[in-house]
């Protein structure tokens, strides 16, 4: 995520646009929207992306209002063919560029991207999230959470303190939020966690410092926290207004899915997770080897494609901005 934003900035996006992108991208994505529908409820499924969008706009506009420097530039974008990079797209007319590959080739490339890159990036985090959720469900006594995080401004503020330094991606934070709500945490407080958890962590804040400067980082945090608390309070109010019990409707959406499809999906997802998990464990065990691949930027002979992809993700490469999918 951060490399994409860093290159966005370097290539001429103004600070406000960079800030907005840095908030809405981690806070929401098609994958986390789908998981929210599965594990939480339809209301949260709508509120999450809306809150992400509004927060991003508020923070970006605050930035460009207070610290505007007129630096009109045209972004240099990578127009490389998204299917296999067969053509850089620079001197290639759009009409031809779009038709380099057949429909079938595009779909195959898209699906490969789905499980190799999209899932490959979040698999480890998702399982960490699932285990945290399971621990909360099994271990934490019911009354504890409800007393401290049952709703109101103080609950939201407490959740900010927990969520800001924590790193958890949007998809992985969803089962944790579901477990929290089941333990009596108010849905608004859980939303604060869902918004602030993915948007910031200690590492990203230090990178932001360098990218945007001190004043802008403080403004970023302030706008983010303010919007999160406001949306949290709004959501609690909405649930009470509509007289919905969040615990009762949690995860109901999945009941329409037949048991066999649920099992098949779980097994398929586990199969897709083997490689990212294995890669992650390997990386944990050999930090020095990772460093070599990382600097050279080339795959070590014999390593497969997916490994190279994973390594390249940890470097900041301006060329990786194409489609904004460069990630941590």
């Amino acid at each position: 995520m951060l490399p994409a934003a860093a290159s966005l900035r370097k290539q001429g996006a103004n600070k406000g646009a960079t800030t907005a992108f840095l908030i809405s991208t981690p806070e929401s994505g098609v994958d986390s929207i789908a998981v929210t529908y599965a594990l939480l409820d339809p209301l949260m499924t709508i509120v999450r992306p809306v809150a992400a969008f509004v927060t991003a706009v508020v923070a970006g506009i605050a930035e460009n209002t207070l610290f505007w420097k007129n630096e009109q530039k045209t972004l240099v974008v990578d127009r490389k063919c998204p299917v296999d990079g067969c053509c850089d797209g620079v001197d290639c007319p759009d009409e031809i560029h779009r038709h380099h590959h057949s429909y079938r080739e595009k779909v195959v490339a898209g699906l490969r991207f789905s499980y190799q890159d999209v899932w490959g990036d979040i698999a480890v985090w998702f399982f960490i999230g699932v285990f945290i959720a399971a621990f909360i469900t099994v271990l934490v006594p019911d009354e504890v959470m409800a007393t401290f995080l049952g709703g109101g401004v103080q609950s939201m503020l407490l959740m900010l303190v927990v969520g800001i330094p924590l790193y958890i991606c949007a998809t992985a934070s969803t089962p944790v939020a579901a477990a929290l709500i089941l333990k009596g945490v108010s849905p608004g407080t859980a939303l604060v966690f869902l918004l602030v958890g993915p948007a910031t962590n200690i590492t990203s804040l230090s990178v932001l410092f360098g990218l945007l400067g001190k004043k802008s980082t403080v403004l970023y945090l302030a706008s983010l926290s303010f919007c999160a608390v406001l949306f949290g309070l709004g959501v609690d109010w909405l649930y009470s207004l509509l007289d919905i019990s969040p615990v009762a409707i949690l995860g109901e959406a999945t009941e329409v899915i037949p048991e066999s499809v649920r099992w098949l999906s779980a097994l398929l997802l586990l199969a897709f997770s083997v490689q990212p998990l294995r890669f992650y464990i390997k990386k944990l065990l050999s930090p020095t080897k990772k460093q070599t691949t990382f600097i050279s930027g080339f795959p070590i002979a014999g390593e497969n494609m997916s490994k190279r992809n994973h390594d390249s993700k940890s470097t900041v490469k301006p060329t990786h901005i194409h489609n904004g999918k460069g990630k941590i």
């Binding site: 995520m1 001429g12 098609v30 992400a52 530039k73 972004l75 999945t254 899915i257 999918k325």
Partner: protein
């Protein structure tokens, strides 16, 4: 031991609930990548004090991670 069994059954339950929708989400994300060309949107992010912000925010919403 009971704790471990409870924990693992909880993990499996979450997986059962989430997997179908995760697959759906990542497939849409993958197809978005090859069908839309987000670069054309990105080109506008350099211009405009406020329009660029709204575009960047909107563009970031469906993007995973």
């Amino acid at each position: 031991m009971t704790f471990f069994i409870n924990l693992m059954s909880e993990v499996w339950n979450i997986l059962l609930d989430a997997s179908f929708f995760i697959l759906l989400g990542i497939v849409i994300a993958g197809l978005l990548k090859v069908s839309l060309n987000p670069n054309t949107i990105l080109e506008h992010l350099g211009k405009g004090r406020f329009v660029s912000v709204v575009k960047a925010a909107f563009f970031g919403v469906p993007l995973p991670l």
